[in-house]
Amino acid sequence: MNVLELRSFYAYYGDKKIINDINMKIEKNKITAIIGPSGCGKSTFLLSLNRMLEESGGRAAGNILFNGKDIYSMAKEEIRKRIGIVFQKPAPFPFSIYKNLTYAPIFYGIRDKSRLREIALDKLKISGLYDEVKDELGMSALKLSGGQQQRLCIARALTVEPEVLLLDEPCSALDVKNTANIEKMLINLAGDYTIVIVTHNLYQAKRISDYTAFMLDGELVEYDETVRMFSSPQDRRTREYIEGIYG
């Protein structure tokens, strides 16, 4: 089943076309990886999916259907609630860990203390951060290590119960251990959430994703099951990109 479907979708910054005529379906409760060289439009692609593109000054054309409904006809707040995003550089709010996790739920009207606490702890557990911080929920989130901050941001994105989780190079600034933690977590999440992850680490794409999309200059060059894509890429450019360096 498809959660998201792009139909001749274009994205622009000013007059510059960044995403060029993409048609693509993203399957529910699977992990889809987006790969491609720097500047090819991966981040822009991701931002388009939950209308954050508008906030960064971009402009979209074409359709993106979310469960069959065009996202540009829905309220952007709702879209963002249902499609969460996590960026490359973790940006925890300068509050306590706990407050980071209740920030959005409070906005969505949850006032009940015990309910809030439940949400916070639940998401911390999901993101594998619980054991590391359970005694320091009041500590400023800025004091966490990079990897912990990133996991906190993922937990925070989950507090609004999104159906889709977009991740933009979430591990690029992290060390092996933290990366492993996050990958483990994503694989666990995949049962309940649809995950789209941008990565420049091909090994990572290979390790965790079910589907992989290769982008070049704003175009979708190839899109296939990960296993197939890495073993027998159809397009010459994909092959070059995958084999190019470490081949």
Partner: protein
């Protein structure tokens, strides 16, 4: 619920911002309007190119070239004195003073910037002007130079705080990389911080020039207020002091009254040009 509040908030913020901008524009237009009446009677060119100011003669003789020149002269002298000192001090602050004392010093600089000009004027009259008379044996110490020196002390805090801001950032940004090359602090400050702060320094100079040209009370006490062609060691008159001295007597609606507004307008026009320049300097700086 938030959506409703959000819309309400956005509306009121827009309204308030709109009111503010409208108010400011109104003030500017108001001053413009009051001067326009004068320019109908006296052509602007005559107003700014002749040099006799005598509102009591009949008919009045109202031209302010001398006063414009006086305003510029005093302010430029102030900048010439204050800029090297201010830039030097900021370089010192940016590289050689630690974070905490620097914060305190910056606070003190803010206090300096806030010392009322009446106080400066008072000290200027009793100390500076007298010093000139004693030491240099001037017949009277009121002069462009006295005004310039006093103003330079007054604008120094503005220069320092504007420069220090850019310079501090520059130093922070590049010092580690430079130190890693074994390069000394002095050389870093001299070659990177100074050369990269040129725009910041220009901005500071322009800001200070604006302050200096608009300063009233202090300058009025030490320049002698004689509307003659300014010389460095002679007396002069500036536009703000002209307005301050004569606004009391100029009856609303009289030509003299409108002439004072017109003088203010000329000052604003000069300042506006300077400020627009500053705006573009700032913008090109942020594009870096």
């Amino acid at each position: 619920m938030w959506e409703v509040l959000d819309r309400l908030f956005e509306k009121s913020i827009k309204l308030l911002a709109f009111i503010s901008l409208l108010l400011l524009s109104f003030i500017i237009l108001f001053i413009f309007k009051e001067s326009l009446i004068f320019f109908r009677a006296v052509p602007i060119l005559k107003f700014i190119t002749r040099n006799t100011w005598n509102p009591l003669a009949a008919p009045e003789n109202l031209s302010i070239l001398n006063i414009i020149l006086g305003t510029l002269y005093v302010s430029i002298v102030a900048i010439i004195i204050a800029l090297p000192i201010g830039v030097g001090s900021s370089l010192l602050l940016s590289g050689y003073v630690k974070e905490k004392p620097r914060l305190i010093l910056r606070g003190l600089i803010d206090v300096m910037a806030g010392v009322p000009s009446v106080i400066y004027g008072f000290i200027g009259l009793l100390v500076l002007v007298k010093f000139f008379e004693r030491v240099f044996d001037f017949s009277s110490g009121e002069s462009v130079l006295a005004g310039g020196i006093l103003l330079s002390i007054m604008v120094l805090p503005y220069i320092i705080s504007t420069c220090d801001e850019t310079m501090g950032k520059m130093y922070e940004k590049y010092s580690i990389a430079a130190k890693a090359l074994g390069i000394s602090k002095g050389y870093i400050i001299r070659t990177i911080v100074l050369s990269q702060s040129i725009k910041g320094i220009t901005a500071a100079a322009v800001l200070a020039l604006g302050r200096a040209m608009g300063e009233t009370m202090a300058v009025m006490m030490v320049i002698g207020n004689a509307p003659i062609m300014p010389k460095l060691l002679g007396k002069c008159q500036t536009i703000p002091s002209l307005i301050a001295l004569e606004m009391g007597m100029a009856e609303v609606g009289s030509l003299h009254y409108h002439a004072l507004f017109a003088a203010g307008f000329v000052l604003m026009a000069i300042l506006l040009i300077i400020n627009i320049a500053l705006f573009y300097i700032k913008r090109s700086m942020s594009q870096l």
